[in-house]
Structures are given as C-alpha cells and as structure tokens.
C-alpha cells in the first residue's frame, strides 16, 4: 500500500492512489485467490467512485517544526521522540536540525542551499542541497562531509540507477559509496581496519552513510514495510561509505573510480553501486602453501562466492555490476608481485564464476534471466556457461580494508549501473579541514601492521 502510494507520488501525483488491498496470502505461489474474486466489485469502484485527496497542483514546502520544553535537554529529548513518532528517525539519537546547525553544514558547499539535486523515489520528495544538509546535521555530520554526500546522492539519483526500484524492493539493498582522491583522508573516511563499521578515528563514513539512509527514508519514503518492502534491510543503518586505500594500490593499479569512467588518479570522486548482501571471504591459506598456490586457491575461493544463481545479477548484467570485491593492500600487493593485474584478476573471477546451464535451469535462474530488459541478457539465458555479467570489467575491485592478508569482502550487486561523480569542494575547504583538526584532533592512521 505504502509502496503504491509512494510510487504515484514519485510520478508527480498526490501521494494516494485507487487501490484494492489484500493480505499477502493470495499473492503467493499456489495461493487461494478466491478473496480477490469476492471483492472483484472493488476494482470497478476504484475506476468510478474513488476520490483523490488533492485537487490542485504545486510544490508544498513543509513548515519548520517548533519544539517547546522546559530546558534545552528536555527540548532535545522531545525532538528525538517527536522525530521517531513522525517516522523521521532511525532509533538512534539525532542532532536537532536547527537553522544554526544546518547553516554550519552548508559551509561544505558553494552551491546555493535551494539547488535541487533531484526527486527521491518512490515518494518523490525533493532533495535540495539544504535537504541534504538537514539530514547530515541530524546524523552527526560535519560541513566537510557535505561534498561527498552531494556526489553520492547525485549518483544514487542517476536515472540509470533505477533507484525507485532498489528503494522499494523486498531485497536488502543498500548503496555502496567508494571515495577516491585526497578527500578520503581529508575528511577521515576509513579505508583500512573496520572500514565498514563505526570507528571514532574515522567518523565520516558512518555519519554520511546514515544521512544517506535518512534521505532514502524521509525524502524518498523508504520506510520499512510501508515504502520499502525490504524483508531484512541489512547493512542499512549506515549504508557503506568508504575510501579506497589508494596508498595501498600496487604499482600499475588505478583507483576504482577510474576503472568505471570516473575521475582519474589524485582527483576527488565517488563510485556508487547498490548491493544486496555482504560476505566475508577467508581467502588466506594456512601458511604452508607457496605464495603462488595460495594466490590461485584464494582467487578460486573468491570466484566460488561470486558463482551464485542470483536473480540480482540479471539486473546488472548488461551495464551494471555483479558486485564489489574489497581486497586489502597486503593481498593486492602479493597478487601484483605475482603478475596479477586488476584486469587479470577480474578476468579470472569472471571465467571461474560462470554458472553451468544445468544449474541455471535447476535453480530457476533461467526464468529470471528471461525477464531481463536487455536483449543480450535475455539471449544469454541458454549459454552453456552463464556469465554473471557481460564483461569482466564490470566487476568492481577496490583495494580497501585493514592491512592484513586473511580476508576479502564481497558485496553482491543489485545495480543496473556503476555510477560515478566528481566531488566539488568549496573555496574555503582548507579552513573547514583546519576547523576539523581543532574539533576532532589531528587525523592519521593509528594502527597498521
């Protein structure tokens, strides 16, 4: 119901639609559909008697919310309770998005605050620079995070990303934002140990990712069970916002953004995909193998994780990605020393993750491939060995994670495009970074082995 209301709002209608609503049971395989038959007259009524709530067009700006209480702390608590009851929160404490705090965040861009980024589907709420600053203010963000936030949202709203679908799907989709360029270190994004989780040494990723999630929910309407049917909603509290470990790139390996049409080495940019799952892969051997054997075995092991009869692969088959593989610098360095280039690794993973036709049929993947939009994807349905994407270059390979050899991390894709965007910083950038040093103490890597 919420999904449909959001969807029509996203198309520019009032946030309501003529619907005939049933519980989930009739929609399941081999279901009893007699409840539909009993209510068939309601379909006719929807075409003749239903009345929309809105009879006028135009933009509606919500007014500011006034919270009154006895003392600041009481007002702060009351605001947090009110934001929860208004379904604007995520269960964790929020900073009040006051004019003062939002104006502070807006120092992170030279763009006007009313500059429109786009409509966030399925609800179709309008995301402006100010909207993003409001959300970043709530999530614990800082002004120097805003440029990454803007670039990430621009990528998410790229029409070819079909964000209206990943927002509403039953899958556990979440945006993955990989940052290249000096801005990663400048704003304390994590590229090393624990980069997917909270880290007080690198607080930026959590705050930006949480703000993106709040935009998805509040502006885009992706409220669990109402606007998004994501059954599990995994990895969504903070999404994934990380930096590539560019200092750990072996010689001859370019940054991940450059691999996918984004900015080149030394420039600030984001690469965004949508993922629906996360797998830690123990890739190291027990230590008695040769380096060559360990490398080969580990790549076969990684390929086995990729070789999955996933219907999500169909979505990204033509132009998107089957997912992003995170590889720590130690592993990348070992592989590079043996002559493995990025291209060679991707080719190996692509070759060894193909799915035999018999398995494509047995698992029902065949029908999913046949639902594909791209003719080439549909035509691939009967390939003797079905590749998880059309070309090896579509696999995203980023050097990231703690400097340790044991694990890789695979985030399976559900994304029709790999989006990239340059990151624009404001003229007063260095002043913002100096202020961050004053506020947070000097930044730097504290633990490398």
């Amino acid at each position: 119901m919420g999904v449909v209301r959001n969807s029509v709002a996203g198309l520019g209608f009032d946030q309501d639609a003529s619907m005939v609503i049933f519980p989930i049971s009739p929609f399941l395989v081999d279901s009893d559909i007699s409840p539909i038959e009993q209510d068939v007259h309601k379909f006719a009524e929807g075409l003749t008697d239903w009345k929309p709530a809105s009879t006028e067009t135009g933009i509606q700006n919500p007014p500011k919310v006034r919270i009154e209480a006895n003392g600041y702390e009481a007002a702060y608590d009351k605001m947090n309770r009110q934001f929860i009851t208004s379904t604007w929160g995520d269960g964790l404490p929020l900073n009040p998005p006051t004019e003062e705090r939002v104006s502070w965040i807006l120092q992170g861009t030279d763009r006007p605050r009313d500059s429109m980024i786009g409509k966030v589907m399925p609800r179709g709420g309008i995301a402006t620079v100010e909207t993003l600053a409001v959300t970043l203010a709530m999530s614990g963000g800082r002004p120097e995070y805003l440029p990454v936030m803007i670039a990430a949202i621009e990528c998410i709203l790229d029409p070819e990303m079909e964000h209206d679908k990943f927002q509403a799907t039953s899958g556990s989709t979440y945006p993955v934002v990989i940052v290249n360029g000096p801005i990663g270190k400048d704003i304390r994004l994590n590229s090393g140990f624990g980069l997917l989780g909270p880290d007080p040494q690198h607080p930026a990723g959590v705050a930006i990712g949480r703000a993106i999630r709040l935009v998805q929910q509040n502006v885009g309407g992706a409220l669990p069970g109402v606007g998004t049917m994501s059954i599990y909603g995994a990895m969504r509290t903070t999404n994934v916002v990380i930096a590539e470990d560019e200092e750990g790139l072996p010689e001859g390996w370019g940054p991940v953004g450059a691999d996918h049409g984004g900015v080149g080495s030394g420039k600030n940019g984001v690469t965004v995909i949508v993922s629906t799952g996360a797998s830690n892969i123990v890739r190291r051997g027990v230590g008695k193998e040769t380096l060559e054997d360990e490398a080969l075995q580990s790549l076969y092991r990684v390929a086995a994780y990729l070789r999955s009869p996933s219907a999500h692969y169909v979505w990204g088959h033509a132009k998107g990605t089957p997912g992003a593989l995170l590889m720590p610098r130690v592993v990348a360095g070992q592989l590079a020393s043996l002559g493995w280039t990025k291209q060679k690794i991707k080719q190996f993973l692509w070759d060894n993750s193909k799915i035999p036709h018999e398995e494509v049929v047995r698992t029902g993947l065949l029908q999913w491939i046949e639902t594909g939009v791209d003719p080439a994807t549909v035509a691939s349905a009967n390939d003797p060995m079905w590749p998880i994407c059309r070309d090896p270059s579509q696999i995203v390979l980023a050097v990231a994670g703690g400097a340790h050899p044991t694990h890789n991390f695979w985030m399976q894709g559900a994304t029709p495009k790999i989006a990239t965007a340059a990151i624009d910083v404001p003229k007063e950038w260095h002043g913002l970074l100096a202020q961050a040093d004053d506020d947070l103490g000097p930044s730097g890597d504290m633990c490398l082995i």
């Binding site: 075409l47 007014p63 009154e68 006051t98 409001v134």
Partner: protein
C-alpha cells in the same frame, strides 16, 4: 520554556499532475489490464477480467497479454501509446506486493 525550531527533514513535494477523473460507470467503456507479471498476476488478472466482464457485459476488457508485461516492460511510453490507440478509457494495473 525553551524552544527548538527545526527543519522537517522530509523535504518539499510537488504535485505536478492530478489523478484522472473517475468514470460514471464501466458500462460501454473500454478497460485495459496491465501486468507486471509478478505476484500471481497471471492467475488473478484473467479472473478479474472474467468477473468484471460478467458484471459489465457492455464493457470491453482488454487482457493484459495484449500489452507489454513486466515491471519495466509495461512502464514505457510505448505502452501508453498502445492504450491510447486502443481507445482505452480506464486501466487496472497489477500486482504490487
């Protein structure tokens, strides 16, 4: 008494188009069914069409199989053109879940 004035974080919304006016009756009208081919639509929509046809014998109900089916396939300008060309006056779309 202290007060905090904060932004509503849901942002602005825009109503750019209004829902189509409802029909007086389905009698004599042409109604199309569109399918995303999901959630048992292949069973439900034919049944709905058959039952509505019985309730409104003077109406024409065009089956979903005569239009592109699938979430993305039906969501195109080509589908709209086909509806207009067939003189469709109302549409039933299914299934969402």
């Amino acid at each position: 008494m202290d007060a905090l004035e904060v932004f509503d974080p849901s942002g602005a919304t825009e109503v750019s188009v209004l829902h189509a006016p409802r029909l007086q009756s389905l009698n004599g009208k042409t109604v199309a069914l569109l399918s995303d081919d999901m959630w048992q639509a292949h069973r439900m929509l034919p049944m709905i069409r058959e039952k509505l046809q019985a309730l409104y014998p003077d109406a024409t109900f065009i089956p979903e199989t005569e239009f592109p089916m699938g979430t993305r396939q039906m969501d195109t300008e080509e589908t709209v053109d086909m509806l207009v060309e067939r003189g469709v006056e109302a549409v039933i779309v299914g299934n969402a879940s």
